[in-house]
Amino acid sequence: MNQQCNRSSDGGMIDRSKIIKFQFDGRAYEGHPGDTLASALLANGVILTARSFKYHRPRGICTAGPEEPNALVTLGRKGRSEPNIAATVIELFEGLEARSQNRWPSLRYDLLAVNSLIKPLLSAGFYYKTFMWPRSFWYALYEPMIRRAAGLGALQNRPDPDRYEHAHIHCDILIVGAGPAGLVAAKEASRSGARVLLVDDQPRPGGYLSGESLEIDGQPGAQWAHEFADELRAMDNVRMLARTTVTGRYDGMTFCAVERVSDHLRARNTKVADLPRQRLWTIHAEQFICAAGAIERPLVFDDNDRPGVMLAGAARRYLNQYGVLPGREVLIFTNNDDAYLTARDLSAAGADVIVIDTRKKAPAAKLLPGRLKVFFEHALTDVSGHNSLSSATMTPLVVKGPKQTMRCDLICISGGWNPTTHLLSHLGQKPQWSQKIAAYTMIDSGSNAFVTGGAAGLFELTQGMEDAAKTGRNAARACGFSTEERSVLPLVSPNSSYAIEPFWRLPKQLSDGSKSFVDLQNDVTVGDLELSEREGFGHAEHAKRYTTLGMGTDQGKLSNVNALGLLAELRDQTLSETGTTTYRPLYGPVALGALAGQRTGAEFAPVRHSAMHDWHAEQGAVFTHAGLWLRPYYYPRGDEGFATAVTREVRAVRSGVGMVDVSTLGKIEMKGPDAGNFLDHLYINSFSKMKIGRARYGAMLREDGMMFDDGTVSRLSREHYFITVTTVNAASVLQHMEFCHQTNWPELDVQFCSVSEAWSAMAVAGPKSREVLERVVEDLAIDNGAFPFMAVGNGTIGGAFVRIFRISFSGELAFEVYTDASYGQSVWEAIMRAGQSLDITAYGTEAMTVMRTEKGHVAGPELDGRTTAADLGLGRMMSQKKDFVGRRMAVRDDLVLDTVKQLVGLKPLLEGASFKMGAHLVEDPTGIGANVSQGHVTTAVYSPACDHFIGLALLSGGRNRVGERLYAVSPLHNEQVEVVVSDPVFVDPAGERTHV
């Protein structure tokens, strides 16, 4: 085939000296640098590019920008395969592969085009009225059928090989759009010294000018823009981001933008691997200027979706920017002056052009060469052709006159231009209807925001640039910079004017009943909107939701205003009364990978390791996740399994000595004359009168009376306390303490901060623990007399300073050793070496769980935020003599009933039986299905000390039910086990072992 048959011999911003090879649907084509996929396809005469969503109608390229509703393709292969990308935004690169989508078996012959034939059934909202009979068919047939039809392109289930990153940028003035208005505004604002950030979604600045044939200051408009931009770029206080779409405006002058860093470089083998694919910018600005231009809207008439029907501005852009003449026999159908520029340019490029204008007259007609015919008060009907156009008919709108059918290969349509005010609406500002330009504009742009140029509805270039200069100065002034009024505005030739008369649809009597599309992507027709209104869904929001109008990938950029105009007509309202639906972020689609940035896969959240992590790993520890931490779960030896290893570790502690890494505990250092008093407010028990050099178990509540956290509080000196809190609550307890101090008791003279990362901590436990420590601890006597249970003291191990606490979670003689985290591993290893001859055993969190369960100590599963201290058997710790957080709410009537769930122990009735954590306790296991649960198993472990399973449970009225037989049922495991309620302490109830 004739390669690039539609390419003009000169003009445009493409580099004809270089060839780029690419494929579409497996067929090879050529284009040039500067092309988009769309312009290259058009250059090669490819008209049919896609199938529509519902009716699978053949579709072509409609626009030249990100608002493209039709020409969506799947780009790339394997992990880089990406569906639904508009061909109009894909910069052509060597080796590009694109495929059409939503068709089977091929784009040209699509079987689901049969939907078009049953269109009478598939009206808007048809599914709400049907598929209900018989009921079973919904699941078996209808719903699977609907789901299969869903979606446009397909996503591959493969990981994304590319990288994304997040970055922040601060500026005084953010300007969105580097068209003529944005450029001029940037220049004026930057002259004041303000830091200006100019962002544009195209590869090169110029915006609207890139697609025009006009001249500025004697230069072609696009060239003027490039030189102007170069001057700006040279300024220290101006930064420009190209290929960057500002996708959302958020509260507090925060904006989100996505920069396409390397997509267009992919095939050129530049060092793409070193670059992220895309970069998500968080922009913080003082002032915002919206200079995002305007988007053309189509006209609504019969078969206005045929391949070859294109927006007039897009056709002009293809010619002027890309050197592509998309048609030779051209009908231009318009209700406004702008399309006359297309007529002029296409005609000058050699096309036969006829203009069909719905209006009586057009000021712009004088732009046209005399030979060019204009049919006023006419409309276009009877568009024929299937995969491309063949002819259309010009039909008089008012008086009965002759119709005239003309051959055509391109129909350019223009229904007017909509200012791009999306970013101004994201914070809730509503656009207003302007009769003058027949479009919604933003009169009140909201605080710290300005709008100018086409985005302000200023469609005459000179006027737009004049306003932009003023706006640039105003924005700079709003930031506190001073500006001069002087500015020399560029001279535009020829300056265009803009006049329009709304034309929302073909009058009924002229329509032959063919589909007139309002939303091209979602296949929403005039008939659908009429039906919607007829059924009571006439409100703009109802119509959108009923017909799915504006819900496609283009988010209604082409369709919304036409739909509103149509609804206004149907409801006999003004467009001000109709109002708009809500514009929401994102302005254009953004890959989730870009939004996620670096935070994916293994980097989803940071991993925290204790200082002894390497040692654990060397010993072959199996790790478990605890919040962000990785903690040793158990240390298998040889081919030991989980249960064997844990049992061995527990036995080692109970009979000899073991050591566990408890560095993950939250640690808080507190000082000040009122520290004790403050702690008394926070904990249910008292610390102000505790002896110096002693530690004590403490429990704290939330203000609603529920258990919040537990740990130990030690008094190191008169005004100095050291506090440990649980791993999971480390951050929230500190926050709670600060909140209490700064809001409830600011008068207390106390200071505290987290020292969690500063200290490593290890618990040495077991009857031989003292013997081991005595071999390494210096400067502190730790015999039972000098250093009794709950004593605290300072010493050294191998020269490293240590704080030693004689506290026990395991129920054995035990010491917790704290040291500077940088010595953590060496102190750990020193103790390990000292204990080697006593067979010291490293144990993990599971062995710790077994031992704390044997002792009836509560932990996470019991502190689930729904239990009071009394429920957990800690009621007597609650001081009667002082106020503390949660005191009042903990004793509300229903929390002190005899029937509340209380902590108990459980044993299986039959030795050897086991039961599951998360099992529920019932009296009668046959009652499953009714609500018979009386409690649940919080913890269940095999106890080496008891040599059978034991558990802790929360059981209704549990404390008075010791000895009762119940069933622990786990329907999920199809399991029921008879259990006996017991006291929660299974080992050493008198606590003698800790005191030796």
């Binding site: 709400y128 009921r135 446009l152 809730g428 009571g536 989730l592 996620a596 229903d894």
Partner: protein
């Protein structure tokens, strides 16, 4: 007009010209037996069940904006009953049963899609909590299945179940009957049915005050004038505190924004509704092909139906991490709904200190899936002046007595539920 094969065919042949308005647009009468304040899903469901279950049809539903403009139209469409607290399990499972028959009941296809709801867990502690929850469900006769890692991977192949994941998947709890419903259709279906039974649905009618005499409600003031009623029922998710304040009530509620996100439509790739234990994150693929998901609350009081960038990027990070193929899927749009968050994470359906004035609200994350039974039990309360047994514990007094229904266990910090 009943929807049937006949009515569909007749319209197909006549260019859809015979469909009538789905509901009337009446002006308010001066008096009603019952006024329901709020024309969202719950208000419209309440109206339907007042007529259907209790024969009360002299009812007006007053809606400030357009019908169904609140949370019914801006949620993630998920229905399920996989709760932990017994009251919630019973309530939401009743609701799920009503969902299962709703299209037939309303003669309006709400497009229930029961493709299962899967809660993925990552740690032994999360697993045990899920087992507790699944067993609580099973003990009340609700379907729950425990899956191991491989079974999760088989059911939802796009989940990253590799051990190298930052939070490796350990397993999941599946409720096979869970799924999704076309949300707008629920409002429209209830409205159509209520209207057909004689209930006046009045749009653009904002209640500006309550007429209260001697501790008894007499009606409301509105922008369409005063309207009297024997009973007035508040049902205004997202505005609960503001409307209740007009009757002098102060509630244990904070209003927070929950963002929802929707991606471009793609061919079916995710059949199951999935949530993850490593973060607040749930995702579903709609019948149109878009992936709809949400993450955390923004976390501070808000009546602005929009969210912030921090939560947006976190939610996207969840999607791209748990289901790596979503990295190249593109988000189209995000928005915010106002969740009235109670202090214990469970809703309130109750009489108030004002005689004849009822309150329904505080639905936290559960409002959409609760719609049928919320209407069912609220209608019962309004008709009988006595709570329905399913909602008896959804009282206001529970905060005073301590009989909380603490679904998440996180305490009176609504932003953290």
């Amino acid at each position: 007009m009943r929807y049937s094969a006949g009515s569909l065919l007749r319209n197909a042949l006549s260019g859809q010209m015979h469909w009538r308005k789905v509901w009337r647009e009446p002006e308010p009468k001066s008096a009603y037996d019952v006024i329901i304040v709020g024309g969202g899903g719950h208000g419209l469901a309440t109206a339907h069940y007042l007529a259907r279950n209790h024969g009360i049809t002299n009812v007006a539903v007053l809606e400030k904006g357009y019908l169904g403009n609140g949370n019914i139209g801006r949620n993630t469409t998920i229905v399920r009953s996989n709760y932990l607290c017994p009251d919630n399990i019973a309530f939401y499972d009743h609701s799920l049963k009503l969902w299962e028959g709703l299209s037939q009941d309303l003669n309006y296809n709400v497009m229930l899609s029961q493709r299962g709801v899967l809660n993925v867990f990552h740690t032994p502690a999360q697993r045990d909590a899920m087992i507790r929850r699944g067993n609580a469900m099973a003990l009340q006769g609700v379907d729950a299945v425990l899956l191991n890692r491989a079974e999760v991977g088989k059911l939802v192949p796009i989940i990253d179940i590799s051990p190298d994941a930052r939070f490796p998947v350990l397993g999941g709890l599946l409720q096979p009957r869970g799924g999704s419903v076309r949300h707008d259709a629920v409002a429209w279906g209830y409205a159509r049915s209520g209207d057909a039974q004689g209930i006046d649905i009045i749009q653009n009618c904002e209640v500006t005050g309550f007429a209260i005499e001697n501790g008894k409600v007499r009606g409301v003031q509105s922008n369409k004038g005063p309207i009297t009623a024997k009973k007035v029922a508040i049902c205004v998710a997202g505005r609960s505190s503001l409307v209740a304040a007009m009757a002098g009530l102060r509630l244990p509620i904070e209003s927070h924004v929950l963002q929802s996100y929707v991606t471009e439509p793609v061919k079916p790739i995710l059949d199951t509704v999935v949530s993850f234990g490593a973060a607040h994150f749930a995702i579903v693929q709609s019948d149109k092909g878009g992936l709809v998901f949400n993450g955390d609350l923004d976390g501070y009081n808000s009546y602005a139906q929009r969210g912030n960038m921090e939560v947006l990027t976190s939610a996207a990070a969840c999607a791209a991490s748990f289901m790596p193929c979503f990295s190249r899927l593109r988000m189209l749009r995000h928005w915010g709904g106002i969740n009235d968050m109670t202090m214990d994470g469970s809703p309130i359906i109750t009489k108030t200190p004002v005689k004849g004035l009822y309150f329904n609200g505080g639905w936290c994350y559960g409002g959409f899936k609760a719609t049928p039974t919320s209407g069912w039990t609220y209608a019962h309360l309004i008709a009988n002046d006595e709570p329905h047994e399913l909602a008896a514990n959804y009282s206001l007094s529970r905060f005073e007595t301590g009989a909380l229904i603490n679904e998440s266990g996180s305490g009176p910090v609504p932003g953290k539920h």
